[in-house]
């Protein structure tokens, strides 16, 4: 289990326990966290589970998947800190991770 905090664009924060082996996207969907759409269901075929990960966490989570940046190009307001949450694996090492949600997904 890892504690993950999802911070909505309006500042509202949700902290949930997510089981190891899931992705940060799945953790959001299973806990009904608003702001993560995940239209394609984790196939990296859309950019609707887009999150921002601040510097202190960016290098601790697994690296970007091949093609992830191509999808992020198509996200709403991509930044240097952008990731697709379906590509972030949950493990005990990322216990305490904070991700920030964009203004919208589509």
């Amino acid at each position: 289990m890892a504690k993950i905090t999802y911070i909505e664009n309006n500042g509202k924060s949700h902290t949930v326990e997510v089981a190891e082996g899931l992705t940060v996207m799945e953790g959001a969907v299973q806990n009904n966290i608003p702001g993560i759409d995940a239209d394609c269901g984790g196939g990296m075929a859309c950019a609707t589970c887009h999150v921002y990960v601040k510097d202190e966490w960016f290098d601790k989570i697994n690296k970007k998947s091949e093609g992830e940046d191509d999808m992020i190009d198509q996200a709403y307001e991509p930044k240097k800190s952008s990731r697709l949450s379906c590509q972030i694996q949950v493990s005990p090492e990322i216990d305490g991770l904070e991700v920030h949600l964009p203004g919208k997904q589509i």
Binding site: D39, D69, D73, Q74, K80, I106
Partner: protein, 339 residues
Amino acid sequence: MIKTDALIIGAGPTGLFTAHQLKLIGLDCEIVDNLDKIGGQCIELYPDKPIYDIPAIPKCTGEELTNNLLEQLKPFNIKFHLGERVDELTKDNEKWKVKTSKGTAFETPNVIIAGGVGSFEPRKFSPKECEQFENKTILYSIKDKKIFDGKTVSIFGGGDSALDWALELSKTSKVNLIHRRDEFRAAQATVDKVKELSNAGKINLITNSQLKTVSGNGKLEEIEIENDNKETKKLKTDFALGFFGLIMQLGPIANWGLNLNKKTVEVDTEKFETNQKGIYAVGDICNYPGKLKLILSGFHEGALAARACFKLARPNEKYRFEFTTSSKTIKNRLGVKSD
């Protein structure tokens, strides 16, 4: 007013195979799709990516799958209405009246929604100030490239559309090409050509930058871009073009009185009918316990919805199950000789 036994919304793999199933059991159908081409997500999102889980086809790309489905539909003359979005759906007695964005009107007892994740729309620039110039000097697609002759055009994006247009327009216009990182997802040959033209001073290539704001009096005059180090730069421009890919939106489907669950439509698993009689949902857009978003599931759902359509389209006839291997009627419909 076009009268048909069933109207299919969505020309992706599920919509195409559903059409096949309808025609096989002797029903007419027509297909509407918001995209200007056939194939849905398969063509728009992954035409070249191999798919490995279509039964009996070990490997095929999205484009090959679409072409094979069209080949399978060849015996039937199916009318496609492309580049049209279904906007209105209203009930009139026992029939559904359907109207598209281009004004095409249908009357049908059956509407099958095979709409994937909704309709594709271009991703727009996020700064609010862009809205006032949209469809005039800020564009997301090009209909007539002559309007750019001798003008300054700022193109945003890193995919094939952005780079192809940068190359094309650089022949007749002054082109700025702006991308948020320094890697491109366009074909390598195109990227090489863009870099060559950039080195030769024919294209002004700016990477690691994004649009910050736009300004102009009545028409676009200036854009301001910001790089990763938060440094801004102003560029005079006549047009701004954004090619950020397409996003999927449920669109008008949300207004048809259907039971929705997030962006999906609730159906039963016997007919794949929604809470409205004569409206079915199949493929990625439908939802039921155990739903799998696989192409093969869409085929199954379409086959069952087609049988359900028979009841409403031919209320006085009885549907009889037949195999394509043995049915003379089906072989006639397929235009193949029976043994």
